[in-house]
Structure formats: structure tokens, C-alpha cells
Symmetry: C2
Subunit: 215 residues, 2 copies
DNA sequence: CGTTGCTTTGACCTTTTGGTCAAATGCCGC
DNA sequence: GCGGCATTTGACCAAAAGGTCAAAGCAACG
């Protein structure tokens, strides 16, 4: 059995790749699991499905991860980093409106280029975030509080129209992720003639937040 | 076996209640199933769970619905009506901004008072809408196209600031449903001291759409 | 080449789960 | 109270799914 590093939370176990084969197979499994979990949810996905998608046998997959849940935990924890990064990048020294519009653009890009990640996350939250609630209440909350305070200071300085900064962040998340999570609905409503809803979405969102926040 | 009415799509079967007991039990099952499906997803829910929640035995539940899928289909089809109703209510003869703000308020109320419905729907869409895609492409699309045309005419008449009407509708859906679907995240980020995020959410959304649409 | 340790898998086990069925129970008009 | 119909359920079945294990490959190093 390959080495395992137990996280402080106890049951979660993530593999530590050392050899080339391990790195490759763990990456294969992660990619496959992302695909499968994001389109069927946790319970709706089977280890066999993930293994097949990764081109491995089920016992082989379970050689690298101790359980189905461990694969899921691994994905969620690595994803949280990527997903929160654009928010971290907001620069207190930048021009307020440009910083926020840039954030909107980056989030929308993420939704376009990595819809599976967004859907995996959505699946988890919609079902009550059983596995990541602690993370939300600590890491996410403190980061959001931080940026909300920044937005508030910009508003107080008259460099941004006033609005509840927390709900401003929620609205950015909601609007951008909608195009990943509800992709099928968006395409169904726009009709088959529209192949890519993202350009129009970007223009709409930039307009929306400009009108909302411009002093 | 009680009577069944097959819908035109074939596999879907919905019960037709005739007696008092049937009406009561079908309602019990529907309530229980909504609760269970919305918090665990389709595959994550078991017939036993739903039956227990409804206070019935599993075979008894399956006496009223031929299968787990039939229960799910029943919920989805009845929900689509409730869910689309506020959009239908938008009145072409009303004052444009008031009509849209009213729609936002009604949708947000739905999210507050019926979050389970919203989550059931979200679960279905996030996972690719396998069971209701046809409905989205026909009924939903035509209703949305209809209202989008109305918004466009208001904009052309200078009674509303210009913006893509389809994406305007998407943004209303996205923002209002976010408070139901991502409820745990919203509460986790706002912190335990905030017991009800909805009043602030309503104020924020009204401000947002007013600044967006006011001429 | 042969030993050693990493990797892979076929076969198997157990639990869960959707669904069936015959028999039992209860309800209601007569 | 009784006949007939609706309702309920305990017992059961088959398939699916998570996970184990011993044994078989296979790679790398002496």
C-alpha cells in the first residue's frame, strides 16, 4: 500500500504520490472522479464508473484511495483552493470598480472553462455541504469577511456606490456560477441556435455590476 | 392497484387520487419525498427513507407509486407549475420596473418559503436535467421567450434601461434561487449571529435591479 | 537473471436497495 | 354482521455497489 497522510479531521485520507506511476494514476482518478461526481452527485456515482472512466479496475482505484469518500474529499479539498483564488487576487490598491469587474470576469471564465468543478461544488452545497461545512465556516468566511471589509471601505470612501458587501459577493458567485451549474437550462431556454452563451453573459454581467457600483 | 394515468411521455406514471385515504397518503408521500429528494438528490434517496418520513411502509408507498422514479417525476411535474407561475404573472400592462421588482420579490419569497422545491429543481438541473430537458426546451423556453420579448419592447419604448432580456431573466433566477440552493453557504459565511439573511437579500436585490433597469 | 517491492486484478463477501407477492387487515355500504 | 373492495405489511428476491484479499504481473536494481 502506498503512503497515506491522514488529515486532522480524521476520516479523510489523501494519497501522497511518490513515484511516476502513482502521480499519473492519481491524476487519472481525480480527472475521472471529477467528471463522474459532478454529473451524478456523490451517491449517484459508483466506484466502478470512476474506475472505468479512469481506465483502471475498481480494486486498482481502491489501491490508490482507501474509499470512494476519500476520492471525493480529495477533489473537494483541492478544488476549494482553485475556486477561492480569484477572490484572493482582488487588490486593495487597485481601482475599486476595475478590481470587482475583473473578479467577475475571472469567475465567469472559471465557469466556462471548468464547469465540472463548479457543479461538484454546487452538488455538495445544495445537499447541505455535509463534508465541507467546517471549511466554509472558517476559511471561506474569514476570506469573505476580509474582502467585504475592503469593499465597505471603498464605499465609505465614495469610490463605489453603496451596497451590502456580503450580498455583493454572493451575487457575483451566484450569477457567474449559474452559467456552469445551470448550463443545460440556459442552453435549453436560449435554444439550439445559440452555441455559446458566455460572450453575451459577460457583457450583461459587466453592465449589471457597472450600473450597480459606479458612483 | 389504484388507477394510474400514463402521461404522453410513456414511462412516467402519476397516481389519480379518488378516495380520501388515497389523497392523504399521496400528499404524505409527496411531502416526504420532496424533503428527502431535495436534501440527498435522486440517487442519494432511498424508498425506505421516503416511506419512513411519510410514516408508511415501503410496500405501502409502492402501492401508490409504481416506482421511486414515478415519485420523483410526480414531484418535478407538479413543481414546474408552481415554479413558473410568478413569471407568468408579469403583466404587460403594468409599470415595467414595478413588474420586474415584483417578480424578484415573489421569486425570493418562493426561495424563502419553499427552499426544498428550489433544491429539488437545482439537483435535477445541475445533473443535466435528465428527466425534464424536454419540458425546458418547450414550455419553459416559450414562456421565457414571451416575457423576454415583453422586456425588449419596454426597453425599446425607453421605459426600462437596455439590457439583454434573456440574461436579465437568468440573473433573477440565479440571484433569488441562490438563497435557497446555497442556503448553508450563505449562512456559514454570514456567521451564526445572522439568523435570517432574507431581509438584507431583498433590499440588496431590489437596489441591484433598480440601478440596473431604471432609465 | 533473480530478488524485492510496487502494481494490478479476478473472485469473492456483505450490505444496501428497488421492487414483488401472498396473505392479513381494515373500511364501508348493505 | 357481512361481503367485497381497498389498504397494509412481513417475507422475500435479484441486482447493484462498496470493499477485501490472495495471488499474479511487472519494474528496477544488484
Amino acid at each position: 500500500m502506498i503512503e497515506q497522510s491522514k488529515t486532522s479531521t480524521g476520516s479523510k485520507v489523501t494519497p501522497v504520490a511518490t513515484t511516476r506511476i502513482q502521480k499519473r494514476n492519481i491524476a487519472l482518478i481525480a480527472d475521472a472522479a471529477l467528471e463522474v461526481f459532478s454529473s451524478h452527485g456523490y451517491r449517484g456515482s459508483t466506484v466502478d464508473q470512476i474506475a472505468k472512466q479512469a481506465g483502471l479496475s475498481k480494486p486498482n482505484l481502491l489501491y490508490y484511495f482507501p474509499s470512494k469518500e476519500a476520492v471525493h474529499d480529495y477533489l473537494l479539498s483541492t478544488l476549494m483552493v482553485t475556486w477561492l483564488d480569484p477572490l484572493r487576487e482582488i487588490d486593495a490598491k487597485g481601482e475599486p470598480l476595475d478590481e470587482i469587474l475583473g473578479y467577475v470576469r475571472r469567475k465567469l471564465e472559471l465557469s466556462r472553462d471548468h464547469p465540472s468543478e463548479s457543479r461538484l461544488f454546487a452538488n455538495e452545497i445544495v445537499q447541505g455541504a455535509p463534508r465541507i461545512l467546517p471549511l466554509l465556516e472558517t476559511e471561506l468566511k474569514s476570506l469573505v469577511d476580509d474582502k467585504a471589509a475592503l469593499f465597505q471601505s471603498w464605499m465609505d470612501a465614495g469610490r463605489l456606490a453603496k451596497a451590502d458587501p456580503h450580498h455583493l459577493i454572493f451575487s457575483i458567485w451566484s450569477l457567474t456560477q449559474h452559467y456552469a451549474d445551470f448550463d443545460v437550462q440556459v442552453r435549453a431556454v436560449l435554444g439550439c441556435e445559440v452555441t455559446d452563451p458566455f460572450p453575451a453573459a459577460e457583457e450583461y454581467l459587466i453592465t449589471l455590476f457597472t450600473r450597480m457600483l459606479k458612483v
